[in-house]
Amino acid sequence: MTDSTASPTRFDRVALTGALVTLVGAAVLPFVELRANRLVPGSGHSLAAAGPWAFVVWGVIALAFVSAVGPSAKARSAASTAGAYGLVAAIAWALGAAAEGLLADMSPVARVSVGGGAWVMLVGAAILGFAGAEERSRFVVRRAGPVVLLVVAVAGALVSGGLDRISLAREFAVRQEQFVSLILGHLAITGASLAAGAAIGVPLGLLAARNRRVRGVALAVTGVIETIPSLALLGLLVVPLAALGAAVPWLRDLGVRGIGPAPGFIALALYSLLPVVRNTYVGLTSVDAAAIDAGRGMGMSRRQLLFRVELPLAAPLVMEGLRVAAVLLTGIATLTVFAGARTLGILIFEGLGQFAPDLILLGALPTIALAVIADIGMSALARAVTPRGVRVAVQTPAPTFAEEAAA
């Protein structure tokens, strides 16, 4: 990669933005909140509460600014990456230190939670990390970089015990067992309904590609289902299932009840249909007609044509549909708790009901993490099933925007 010294801008505006966001978060918003117990509103405390660690944070922020105006693109990239990791680590330690300090002479039920300023600073660090990763222009780094950054930092802080006194960690410690079972429940209902959706959606997409009438009906119906608000669909399923379960006892024994995992499972499976059906349909119909013609002309039977030509070529799009569905379902699964399923939604809505921010975070953050992991994992899977011959080659790195602008 050429050094973009020809670039008209001698500084990295993206890194500068990251640094500025961090600065604003540190200077204006409360770094931590101190609450007398887990339910009452707290009082904000600035970064100064972290004692000497505050200076470390300020130091790293200064480094972030320097990284934005470094002499060469390469140097700027390295500096902003280092700045990003440094910031996350410093913030984590400062949080721990602030909690330590503020709780020193408080009652044991008092809590210190992560303040808006710290969240904003983490966003700034992510932008900074992105600015650094961008120069390397590797897709995976760009996409997964910030996530890896966060996971590493949080894991590091947890392992070292620095965050033990932050209220989120304490909430977690109290509910550890429930938390684990809810994550498993969340994964189970999402995975099961995704599997069901795929088992129905892929053949349906296949039929839609073969038959115009099926296509019209399948795409219209799944499209309407998709627009119905999840909560409404859940409600619409609960009522007949309740009636059915009441009327047919053996069905109720099988789990068909108004309240329980059944309506959630069915709703999620229904939601997965649109992306799966549509992508299967598009994938199959976008297979080059010449390839199909050649296959037929060479004497392939319909089965052979399907399994040797059409499905391999459609696989990446089918997987993409499953990815979209997986991300979607991971989120909607939180709502199935209203119909009696046991997912991370329990923590979220219990937290909302009790006005307990930590509990909400304990449910919402892992949900987001699961969705992001599903996204990255399924993308990798989609890449794996893409036949090598049709993979987009990444031979030469795309020019960065600075280079393009200079050209």
């Binding site: 627009t227 409600g235 108004g258 937290g351």
Partner: protein, 247 residues
């Protein structure tokens, strides 16, 4: 091509009027739900009328979507201009990442950060709605063939004229598709707002599920589903109309 379009607009108008009549026909709901669930003591949610819930819902969605469009479209345009191009990868990556976040989780996170009530919910809906609008705007503008903008520049149009007369008209349909996605998500997420005390059609659903009153559930779920489908049809029609206008 004019005729079927007009007919579809007429159908949508009739459906809208029908929907308005349906949610205001309180007596009908009472009778119908009463007949369906004879064992229940009450069949309509006590907190308000269906009209109240619908208006609350529309207020949440309307305000947040208006803000989303007002901010999202200019942001999308900016990162495709020379002055904002450096931020285009950041914004795209942020928007991609943001779209993988579950809307409910984002809404829930708004509470510890912003507090309870109407405005915090609006902010959450607005922020989340930005993702599809921004990505639609970027995709729309970038779908304009470079040859076309080059020709426009070659004909002596200023940057503003190229944007206003060439890029935006050609991108309108894709931008509208982003808006449509955004509104659909907002309508869905706003039902969950009931759990944060912002009202809306989610109130009878959540309330009904909590106390196992299936009549309440239906009272909220049916209008919510209809509202979503109607709004989507309306926006789909607008999207198609923009497509026709630009060829």
């Amino acid at each position: 091509m004019k005729h079927p379009t007009r007919i579809r607009w007429a159908v949508i108008a009739v459906a809208l009027v029908g929907f308005a009549l349906l949610v205001s026909a309180e007596g009908m709901w009472r009778d119908l739900l009463g007949a369906l669930f004879p064992d229940y003591r009450t069949v309509v949610h006590p907190r308000g009328t269906l009209v109240d819930f619908t208006l609350e819902h529309l207020a949440l969605v309307g305000v947040s979507s208006a803000l989303t469009i007002a901010v999202g479209v200019p942001l999308g345009i900016w990162v495709t201009r020379r002055s904002g191009r450096e931020f285009r990868p950041l914004v795209s990556a942020g928007v991609d990442l943001g779209q993988t976040f579950p809307p409910v989780a984002v809404l829930a996170l708004a509470m510890p950060v912003l507090g309870f009530g109407f405005w915090p919910t609006i902010v959450a809906l607005f922020l989340y709605g930005l993702f599809p609008v921004v990505s639609g705007t970027i995709a729309g503008i970038e779908s304009v063939p470079p040859a076309v903008t080059e020709a426009a520049v070659g004909m002596g149009m200023s940057r503003w004229q190229v944007l206003a007369r060439v890029e935006l008209p050609l991108a309108a349909r894709v931008i509208m598709a982003g808006v449509r996605t955004s509104v659909a998500i907002n309508i869905g997420t706003a039902t969950v707002g009931a759990a944060i005390g912002t009202g809306g059609l989610g109130v009878p659903i959540i309330g009904g599920l909590a106390v196992q009153n299936m009549a309440y559930v239906l009272q909220g779920a049916i209008p919510a589903a209809l509202l979503a489908v109607l709004a989507d049809a309306l926006l789909a029609q607008a999207e198609e109309g923009l497509g026709v206008a630009t060829g």
